[in-house]
Amino acid sequence: MLSRRRFLGFTAGAAAGAALGGVAGAGLRTLFASAESPIVPPRGPERVVLSVCDLCPGGCGVRVRVIGDRAVRLEGNPLHPVSGGRLCPRGQAALQALYHPDRAEGPLRRRGPRGDLSSFERATWDEALGEIGARLAEIRAGGRPEAVVLVTGGGGAGLGPRVARRFLSAYGSPNDVALHRGDDAAAIALLLAQGVRAAPALDLQSADYVLSLGSALLEAWSAPVHATRAYGEFRRGRTGRRGKLVHVEPRLSITAASADEWIAVRPGTEGVFALGVAAAIVGEGLHAKPFVAERVAGLEEDRDAAGRTRPGLRSVLARRYRLEQVEAETGVPGDVILRVAREFASAGASLAIGPRKGPLLPGRLFDHLAAGVLNALVGAVDAPGGVLVADDPPLPPWPALPGGVSAAGRARPKLDGAGPDQPLLASDPERLAEAIRAGTPYRAEALLLVDADPAFASAAPETFAAAVQKVPLVVSFTAIPDDTALLADWILPASHFLERADLHTTPAGVPYPLVSLARPALLRPVRDARPTAEVFLELARRIAPDLAAALPWKDLDALLRWEMEGLHAARRGAVMGTAFDEAFVRMMEGAGWWAPGYRTPAELWTRAHESGGWWDPFYDHGDWRRVLRTASGKVELRGDLLDLAPAAPERDGALALLLFEPLPIAGGTGAELPFLQAILDPGHEAHWETWAEIHPETAARLGVSDRDWIRVESPRSSIVARARLTARVVPDAVAVPVGLGKRGGGRWASGIGANPLRLLAPARDPLCGLPDFGATRVRVARARPPDGSA
């Protein structure tokens, strides 16, 4: 029985319920629907563009998949001789740099205090170039062009730094300072031994036995993909001829983990170990006697040009590097040293590699010289499987530099004193920083930073940070504002490599001349950024006609055509091609023919752009006049220098600081990209923080447990890091990665980890004047976690 009242009640209830339930249900549905990310797929025509990666100096040729106005994928260019169709993790992450949310929107002018991104405000390119150009013109008109300083980083071998440096010379300043590169010490060793100014190139894939003296061969090597490809061949590319890799270092690096043997020497004694091996080889007479007799000088006592007697290396080895001495100094048992010596001398093609540890860590010259001795003793010089020297690509010379105020300026002494004071160094950035800070011998009025972040990635970051603040006009060319850019007056956003045309020359460590070409993958840059090279061309036009005449190209394309026309005129090499093409070109050139596959410059232009570039794959082994340019025409063994082994550290209870550069963040860049932060070290599964490797025995002595926070303190500064207890590092040492601890660098880098470069003692390598990255002693104690850490 349904009364009216009951029915009404029911209806009202149902209505209210339905409303409530409906709202709740719809709310739930909205919540459920929020599971999907709102993504708009790319639309438009699809194409493939060839470019060159510049996330490290390796310069891998890449293929970019572009859909509409988006670059969606990067792969190695299979025809490119450096990448061979492969890419390293940095190259794979390059799209994260292109689309990084913290790239500078456009030119930024500082309005507030230095060091803070919020002090900057947007400006137009016209304002930026107008103001900077006017100031530079004023300085030049005042007759002080030398007061403008250019600091270039260890970045790519593209046109940006090349044009910048030419600009500076034409402007009239001698202060063209390059930050130290990882290849510096190896290059100086090559200069001393062979008289050639170049980074050595290794013929790894033809070697049978490789003795790596603490090198980062399989990590942040000069051209990592090239080296890793060669390593694969060295291991498994030749049936029945698997190469052996022996790694000597106080720390089990990623390279060491791939080795067949890890020989854990005491910190700083890699070179001593190598000389112990050399002494054993010479002592047992196992060296390549015909080669040594014909091409090596300095093994025996002789007289130099001035008639002074020089001690022969043989006597130095016999006196200073006897087995028991080396055993005591390195901590390696004598039988191991002897066995390595015999294996090294008897293997088909042996190769010793000096301790280049990454783009920022060149290693000590002493150790590189020691590696050179081993190579010389077994004839691994300019031989297959040995140390090669690359020829420069035959690019045309650029228009002459102007005279007048420009020439006068160039004649002034350099602020960094390189050259006269440091004959082996081309630049001395640390001394530059001191000179700018002190204002002597003259004041720096403008500082241009191209791909350089010395306030983070140099041997003296704090000094640089102080120096930068002394300069009235600081301009940083960078994409994501870095530590130094935060201190600058202007941030001029550099375009990403996928946004510009470019031309890269041979990367260090690659034994053949090559020119890689890049086309812009995106027609419009993601942000209001410009290629650095074009900015300098524009500045030249704005400042003075003579400057513009020295850089006469209206844009990058014009410059590229100039270069390619010159290349065509050189009448050698070929466009990049398949392995078959490569073999064909090699065979033809070996027989004295030239088979380029192109006739006109236009044809070279087109075909080089279709393949990735130009190269000359033919290597003429044993062209001694090219590779041995010492006075004697032989490989010089510098017994005099090798007598001066670095002194063993005093036993003061402090630990040796071992720095290393994980490939993802090597060279002080990479931490900006989240995919790279996530893979810092597979051995410790470390990511997103700075860790410090300590031997468990040492840690026990210090009362430190695994994953404790510790303070690593040097006389200069201190950092906080996470302790990782591991037998992968020798006792009485602490190993810390370089590359984290940025102030700038965007959301994924800023404030993550700590920068151990700040700890470095201001020590110099006594043999060449490079910063000594291995001389710092530190103390370690437990600490409170750094701010913002869990």
């Binding site: 739930l28 919540l31 459920f32 929020s34 599971a35 599964e685």
Partner: protein, 444 residues
């Protein structure tokens, strides 16, 4: 006679007639916690399981722990009451219902835990639409639903005469009681049918209950993960379930007794008897635990040992040894001595300790095996988040609230069964006892 009975039964009906301040306070608190849980759930729906403490490789945490825990407690009722019924244990009469209600209510929360654990709760019905019968999780779905249905019926059947009583005696809520009483008038035929039905259900419910917890254990045991992949898991889980279930009954009884002044009905002897059962289960539980760990230790398979060590001396050692103390040392110490066992507080402390211990046991089954994966990986330690905890407290609170509401709607002590016991048992038992005695049967 009838009046006397009425007077005696007054305390049983009192909670249904009146609700004191205590009840409303409880309802308010529980409701508040329940709403906090609802808020937490909405947060989880919005931001996904990232609001939990779960991670790779600890993909399962509190939600699954609580699923196992609640399902375990659900064995309280039905199984214990069915066993006692079938074995004609006379002392069961005042406690069966209090136990059965736990079962029915807690099963919902067990299933709710699974819903909380789903990354896509909106797709929960896929388990019916796209059921993969090879998945132990689906076996769970089937057996838990069956168990829920069976134990609801099993709760309902003995409720009928009492509902009829309420229908006849209470002026209010006839709309509820009349349909539920299904025309019960207490005729001999109705009684016969009811007794038969209850017996059938009691027989049916036991294998179902055993299967439920066996299947819950198989969710773990059917994988190849260390210290999950074990044949002992089925019986081990069943024992653990009964163990925690009995403890839950003791706690529920103690609270009801105190709150509704049912000292006349729930006497120390009931606690003593349940305490004895709990003691037996504690010993059984320890036996299984010991067997499980000893087997692992002697096998010394590295991946198993890693989990073993994480429990006995590693990251979970604190929880592990607390569990041993709470599940074994404390209850055995309290229950083995008659002096403590025969008191209410003695058994209650033992039961409370067992619940804590069994919660830890569930946690220690779910989490450590996942925390130490076979292939090394940097595993962030699992720490449950506020969302997981507040959902747990919400579940507990709402469970307690619903339990209280039940006591407000139905007598928590079965009136007719107690009455039946009073009327018939003495004679029944006497007859039964005589039948055990040697000599000729002297039954008239």
């Amino acid at each position: 006679m009838l009046d006397l009975e009425r007077q005696d039964e007054e305390p049983l009906l009192a909670p249904i007639m009146h609700s004191g301040r205590g009840f409303w306070l409880l309802a308010a608190c529980a409701g508040l916690l329940g709403f906090a849980g609802l808020a937490a759930w909405l947060v989880q729906l919005r931001r996904g399981l990232s609001v939990t403490g779960l991670n790779v490789p600890v993909y399962w945490g509190l939600y699954i722990t609580h699923f196992v825990f609640f399902i375990g407690i659900s064995h309280a009722g039905t199984l214990v009451s069915a066993i006692l019924r079938l074995s004609n244990a006379e002392w069961r009469r005042p406690i069966t219902r209090a136990a059965e209600v736990i079962t029915v209510l807690v099963l919902f929360f067990g299933m709710g835990c699974i819903l909380l654990d789903l990354g896509r709760p909106d797709r929960a019905l896929f388990v019916l639409r796209h059921a993969n019968l090879r998945s132990p999780l689906l076996w769970d779905v089937i057996s838990v639903t069956t168990y829920l249905a069976a134990s609801t019926i099993y709760l309902y059947l003995p409720l009928i005469p009492d509902v009829a009583l309420l229908r006849d005696r209470l002026p209010r809520r006839r709309w509820l009681y009349r349909p539920l009483a299904v025309g019960w008038t207490g005729t001999p035929r109705q009684r016969r049918i009811l007794h038969r039905a209850i017996s059938v259900m009691a027989v049916l419910v036991i294998p179902i209950a055993v299967s439920v917890h066996t299947v819950v254990s198989w969710v773990f045991a059917m994988t190849v993960q260390p210290m999950w992949h074990s044949t002992i898991f089925g019986p081990y889980f069943v024992v653990g379930a009964i163990f925690s279930g009995i403890a839950a009954i003791i706690l529920a009884m103690a609270i009801v007794r105190r709150a509704y002044r049912l000292e006349e009905y729930l006497k120390p002897i009931h606690f003593n008897n349940l305490g004895l059962l709990l003691l037996v289960m504690a010993l059984l539980w320890f036996y299984f635990t010991f067997a499980e760990f000893l087997t692992t230790y002697y096998g010394a398979e590295p991946s198993h040992m890693a989990v073993f060590l994480s429990k006995t001396e590693g990251r979970f050692a604190g929880e592990f040894w607390t569990m041993i103390v709470a599940c074994f040392v404390v209850p055995v110490a309290l229950l083995a001595r008659r002096r403590t066992r025969s008191t209410v507080w003695g058994t209650v402390v033992a039961a409370l300790s067992v619940e804590i211990g069994m919660w830890l046991e569930r946690f220690l089954i779910v989490v450590p095996s996942l925390s130490v994966p076979r292939l090394p990986m940097e595993a962030a330690p699992y720490a449950p988040s506020w969302v997981e905890w507040s959902l747990f407290t919400a579940f507990l609170a709402v469970f307690i609230l619903l339990y209280a509401v039940f006591t407000k709607l139905f007598p928590i002590v079965s009136i007719w069964e107690v009455r039946e016991g009073r009327e018939r048992s003495v004679a029944d038992v006497a007859r039964r006892v005589k039948s055990y005695l040697p000599g000729r049967e002297t039954v008239p």
